[in-house]
Symmetry: C2
Subunit: 198 residues, 2 copies
DNA sequence: CGCGGTAACAAACATTTGTTTATTAGCAAG
DNA sequence: CTTGCTAATAAACAAATGTTTGTTACCGCG
């Protein structure tokens, strides 16, 4: 259904297939991408894929698991760092945007396609997402205790607003744009931490 | 594929079908929902749907077009209102959350499934989304001119952050939750306008 | 050269997909 | 009761889906 472009077949085939699938799942969705789409983009016939992968869903599982892992690995180091909670939060936002920018399609898969894992894998995916959110909750609560963050607002709403703003970035961030990932993250931190009031 | 529940068949059948499709498209995605899923949930055989609708894609088109329309209709009245830009922005955020809360699944379709419209309908969908974003850009720029909003931050980033936070709400908002839509919108406005710094 | 194993191909498989067709039930109007 | 219309059914259609199978090309190593 989707017109796809053939991709050069260097590197280990499994990795190439994974990258192509990541791209297509991110752009067309899991259910909108056929094994023939993937095979076509890799430059193979559909059946040939199965010499390297186990199933379509194994592809999705690996992409999602690895993807969440990247976000966790990028952000968790800052959670218990010794600098100010505010600086920590800023670093975490920047780190998040950098992971998104590194591969927006992968991020879309992580954010939206995990629902299409078979039920047995869903709980772990949800749990790891929750763990990710907890990182931000902890830092913010620490900031509140330290008197650096307003205590008069709903923390849950605040965290969800920040996460929402960040999770929307793959929708508009362009790796070829004028602003780099770190700059965008920094500007978002300016907005989200300081608000827009003058 | 998906296990769905039969729904009582009152009201005009076309409306029932639309509502069921909206629900399923929002929860399982357009490509993850079969006409048999819809028929099953409505309590009809697959072929019987076509006495009321033209095609699967016509369903999506109507849901998306109507959905975007609801957001525009809810927010646009505030854009040129005479109150302070800040109050206007707050009202717009509340209005947005109220539309989401009225039907989170529809919102998910509007935000994510419009990509699966056939190419001829994509430009208009994008244009109306752009128009929606422009509402917020205008109010914010006016706030900057009035000296009410910081001029030292990137407005594009600020708008995208606010829109991101709002567009993420269907992911977590629960109509049965403790907080109502208007309250959530108000709290989000607190966070997004004032920031989290104390 | 010949041998062995990896990975490609070509072709088919059983389902599932969106949709159409021909037929039948239900029901208001004459 | 009969006529006529709407909307349901049952059944099938072609195409697309994920995956499997048997066979062939390739390529390093003896």
């Amino acid at each position: 259904m989707a017109v796809t472009q053939k991709v050069d077949m260097d590197g280990k085939p499994r990795v190439v297939i994974m990258n192509v699938a990541m791209h297509l799942f991110g752009k067309q969705g899991f259910n909108g991408t056929s094994m023939r789409d993937i095979a076509n983009a890799v430059g193979l016939l559909p059946g040939s894929l199965y010499a390297h992968i186990e199933s379509k869903e194994a592809l999705l599982l690996e992409i999602v698991a690895d993807g969440i892992g990247r976000f966790l690995a990028a952000v968790e180091p800052y959670v218990a760092s010794s600098v100010s909670p505010l600086d920590r939060l800023r670093q975490m936002i920047i780190a998040h945007v950098e992971v998104v920018a590194d591969n927006p399609e992968r991020s879309q898969v992580v954010f939206h396609q995990w629902r299409f894992l078979s039920p047995e894998y869903i709980p772990e995916a949800i749990e790891r997402r929750r763990r990710y959110e907890t990182c931000f909750v902890e830092v913010i609560e620490e900031g509140v205790k330290a008197g650096l963050i307003r205590s008069d607002l709903n923390h849950r709403i605040a965290v969800l607003s920040i996460l929402g703003a960040m999770n929307w970035t793959p929708e508009w961030f362009s790796p070829d744009g004028r602003l780099g990932a770190a700059q965008v993250g920094d500007l978002m931190a300016d907005t989200l931490l300081g608000g827009i009031l003058s």
